[in-house]
């Protein structure tokens, strides 16, 4: 009897890119729901706009580059980028903010470098930083979480939608009346104007550990991260070292002067710490390649984030830290190459 031959190994592969990406999306889902619950439908609208733009941009670029579109499009990586971007954008944003961010992420950060797998920088973070630099005003329009201001009037879904599409708000509301500083902003400004940390913390936007609402969203993000770790979708090196890199200096300085520095718990549950640790820095394409390299890469991001938060000009520094460490990856890779078995 004759048989077809094929090269080994003779077994079905045990992992695939679409499955990995889908797992990332599942892991983000609880945090996304929490986001909508605390901050209204803005997140959902931004996510839809970003996803549509990302997929359309990807299809268009692939077409332009004369590449097959089906396989890259169904790997879900564009949707993951859109989701991460949506977590970074304030819920109250005109539609072109997520659209422009997603466009930059896909076209500039991803395809100008050669597509998935070739990009040097994390696409979502490139998109976010471009937005942050180009439209600083729109990117600081955060609204308070449900339960933050007791007399605060939340926008309904339709009002969110109409603001997103046309910029129109219900007649008796102004943007200024809606927006509030984020907890990170408050801490930064407060410490700068010589308030003590505990004074700042007494504000109504704060919950048990960090910002109200944020604590919950970030807890769900951590839960999603644990799911990714458990399923082997990500490995521990980057998230753990990122947290160590951030919390170690945070704890030291807080112990040194609890009035002038925020608690490690606040850092852990504020801003993009957990999202960065489990979802952003773990983007394999732009991270260091060896396990040892990933320890350094993660620690670097955590440490830089802490520095930017504490002494830099921005309240959060995750995006900048990730991009900075992205650019250090070739160097890290060069010096952390594992020693080959049986060689000196």
């Amino acid at each position: 009897m004759r048989f077809d031959v094929a090269p080994g190994p003779h077994t079905a592969p045990i992992a695939s890119v679409p499955i990995t990406m889908r797992r990332v999306l599942y892991a983000l889902a609880p945090a996304a729901l929490a986001h909508v619950w605390f901050f209204g439908s803005g997140f959902a609208i931004n996510f839809v706009v970003a996803t549509v733009t990302a997929l359309a941009a990807e299809a268009a670029v692939l077409r332009l580059r004369r590449r097959p579109t089906r396989v890259p499009l169904n790997d879900c990586s564009a949707i993951v980028t859109a989701a991460l971007l949506s977590f970074a954008i304030p819920p109250l944003a005109p539609w072109w903010i997520p659209a422009f961010g997603a466009f930059c992420a896909i076209v500039v950060a991803k395809h100008l470098y050669g597509g998935l797998g070739r990009n040097l920088f994390n696409p979502a973070m490139v998109g976010y930083v471009v937005l942050l630099i180009s439209f600083p005003a729109e990117l600081t329009q955060w609204i308070p979480p449900r339960m933050g201001d007791l007399d605060y009037q939340h926008l309904a879904f339709l009002a969110h939608l109409s603001y997103s599409l046309t910029g129109a708000l219900p007649t008796d509301v102004t943007v200024d009346a809606l927006t509030r500083a984020t907890p990170l902003d408050l801490v930064k400004e407060g410490l700068r104007s010589a308030q003590t940390y505990s004074e700042i913390r007494a504000g109504s936007l704060f919950g048990g550990i960090a910002g109200r609402g944020w604590e919950w969203i970030n807890s769900f993000i951590a839960l999603g991260g644990l799911y990714l770790l458990y399923t082997g979708t990500i490995r521990w090196q980057i998230p753990i070292m990122l947290l160590v890199g951030l919390l170690f200096p945070a704890t030291l300085l807080w112990l040194f002067d609890p009035d002038r520095f925020a608690t490690p718990g606040f850092h852990l549950f504020s801003g993009a710490t957990l999202l960065g640790a489990f979802f952003i820095a773990t983007d394999p394409v732009s991270a260091a390649e060896s396990d040892r390299g990933r320890l350094i890469y993660g620690a670097g991001i955590g440490f830089l984030t802490y520095c930017i938060r504490t002494w830099g000009g921005y309240p959060d520094g995750m995006a900048f830290s990730v991009l900075l460490m992205n650019s250090a990856v070739p160097l890290i890779d060069r010096y952390t190459r594992p020693r080959i078995y049986g060689r000196d």
Binding site: G8, P9, H10, T11, A15, E289, R343
Partner: protein, 510 residues
């Protein structure tokens, strides 16, 4: 025998579905006699054997049909009785691929008549003769490497540890497991014989933890042997810890240098099947006539382990196991990770064939589309040689030979771990296998062109030196002529004279 757990974790590797339940559900099937034998003259790593039978001759079970040359060789025996039909070239599976080689084809007569008792030589006293006897007994490494066993037991290198490899980490293969369960005492005896030959101070039997019955049987046999220095290491169930280099690292913490064999640094690895064969040879005078082969896969009617006479055509063995079942997608020789697909089932089982998988569609990869590498690093984490497969991949696809060297292409053991774990479904192992060929060719060319260049350079230098010498001479003459008036006059006269002569010669010849 002492059981212990090595306190090291293997480097890289994967936990893979074992696929061994079906073939280990019943004892090894014995007494199978094929209708035909195809005995390749070269079933070992080394020079081929010399046939000593003629066409039409009747041979008996156990009779030598091809003699071993002096070194790095192992004799071939008729594994059942019959008549030699032909001595011809055939396709035969060897370690990494099918190759064409000379074979003795025997029509078995079904009587399975053995050589008369006492025909085999007794186990000699002298170690030199003992090695020869192993060579003549046709014994080679039965784990798949088919390295002549006598060569590994020779006195060249002092042996620190004799490692009896019963790890059998690759999916589907269970022949060693079954042999350990059923013939533990024989294996221990064979191990002790080899240990004595090597004068090894230590002997470790390594078995994977997922084989409790084998471990139990070996411990029992070890206790019965009364040898206190034997030890049994239970190894974590991670593929490919059974690879020689991986096993040495696991057991001793020492790495085998890239450029060496384990035996060159004092670690001799022998497969449990080999130990069994040595026992048979020494205690019963029986050469290597058969081996246990695992017949497995969803495409086989009755998966099981069969004691198979060497040279049995694969088709006959499959038939013995109830034939094919359903759609067989691939016929694989060896395990699912390192084995290779056979083009047909007419080839024979050789000494190195440990497993045969008739794989159904669902068991093997069907979709061969691949995506870009997303640099996830899974491959590097899984690589037992601590390579960075994604970097090797890039170097291989760019044909960058300097980078291939730097990233250790030749250190890849082609275990396939990176391949099955890759989420982009890049056929990494296949790429590396091909790259190794291309790289070897490139290096040969490099050596060749370096030699040619050197030759050319030497030639050029010689020529330049010649030219220089000529110039120097001319310069010297010119210098003499220019500085010396009488000599100049002389030279002019000599030139005029020469011209005149030439002219007169020209006129003479007209």
């Amino acid at each position: 025998m002492l059981e212990y757990t090595p306190d090291r974790r293997p480097t890289g590797g994967l936990r893979l579905p074992a696929h061994k339940e079906a073939s280990t559900a019943q004892p090894i099937a014995r007494g199978f006699v094929p209708r035909t034998l195809v005995l390749a003259l070269q079933q070992h790593q080394g020079p081929p054997t010399t046939p000593v039978v003629r066409r039409g001759e009747r041979v008996l079970r156990g009779q030598v049909v091809a003699r071993a040359r002096a070194l790095r060789s192992a004799a071939v025996h008729a594994s059942t009785s019959g008549h030699v039909r032909a001595i011809e070239d055939r396709l035969v599976p060897s370690v990494h691929a099918v190759h064409r080689t000379r074979c003795i084809v025997i029509d078995a007569d079904g009587e399975d008549e053995p050589l008369p008792p006492g025909a085999g030589s007794a186990w000699p006293e002298d170690p030199e003769k003992q090695l020869k006897s192993i060579r003549d007994g046709g014994i080679v490494g039965l784990g798949g490497g088919v390295f002549p066993t006598a060569e590994k037991l020779g006195p060249q290198t002092p042996c620190k540890v004799l490692i009896i490899n019963g790890v059998e980490c690759e999916p589907y293969i269970s022949c060693d497991d079954m042999l350990m369960r059923e013939a533990a005492a024989e294996i221990v005896d064979g191990a002790l014989i080899m240990r004595e030959l090597l004068a090894a101070p230590e002997c470790i039997v390594a078995v994977e933890r997922d084989k409790p019955q084998a471990i139990e049987a070996l411990l029992e046999a070890g206790r019965a042997s009364g040898d206190a220095s034997l030890r049994l290491a239970d190894i974590p169930t991670i593929y490919p810890t059974g690879g020689e280099r991986q096993l040495v690292e696991m057991l001793t913490g020492e790495e085998v240098p890239s450029t060496h064999y384990p035996s060159e640094i004092g670690y001799i690895c022998q497969n449990v099947g080999t130990a069994f064969a040595v026992h048979r040879l020494v205690r019963a005078g029986e050469p290597l006539l058969s081996r246990v082969v695992t017949v497995a896969g969803d495409g086989i009617a009755r998966p099981q382990n069969v004691e198979t006479p060497i040279g049995t055509p694969i088709g006959e063995l499959i038939e013995f196991c109830g034939g094919y079942r359903g759609d067989v997608d691939r016929l694989i020789l060896g395990g699912s990770m390192m084995g290779y697909a056979l083009p047909n089932d007419e080839m024979p089982i050789t000494k190195g064939s440990n497993c045969l998988i008739a794989a159904a569609r669902t068991e093997v990869r069907q979709d061969f589309s691949e995506r870009f590498c997303i640099r996830c690093g899974n491959c590097g984490t899984a690589c037992p040689a601590r390579l960075l497969p994604q970097e090797l991949l890039r170097a291989a696809r760019d044909n960058d030979h300097a980078l291939l060297d730097e990233f250790g292409l030749t250190d890849c053991i082609e275990c396939g771990c990176c391949d099955v774990i890759c989420p982009s479904h890049i056929p990494l192992t296949e790429v590396f296998r091909n790259a190794k060929f291309a790289h070897a060719r490139y290096q040969r060319q490099e050596v060749f062109s370096a030699e040619t260049q050197q030759r050319f350079r030497r030639h050029e230098e010689r020529e330049r030196a010649d030219v220089q010498r000529g110039k120097d001479l001319q310069d010297q003459i010119r210098h003499e002529v220019e500085t010396d008036e009488p000599a100049r006059q002389q030279a002019i006269e000599a030139a005029i004279e020469r011209a005149r002569q030439r002219r007169s010669q020209d006129t003479d010849s007209e």
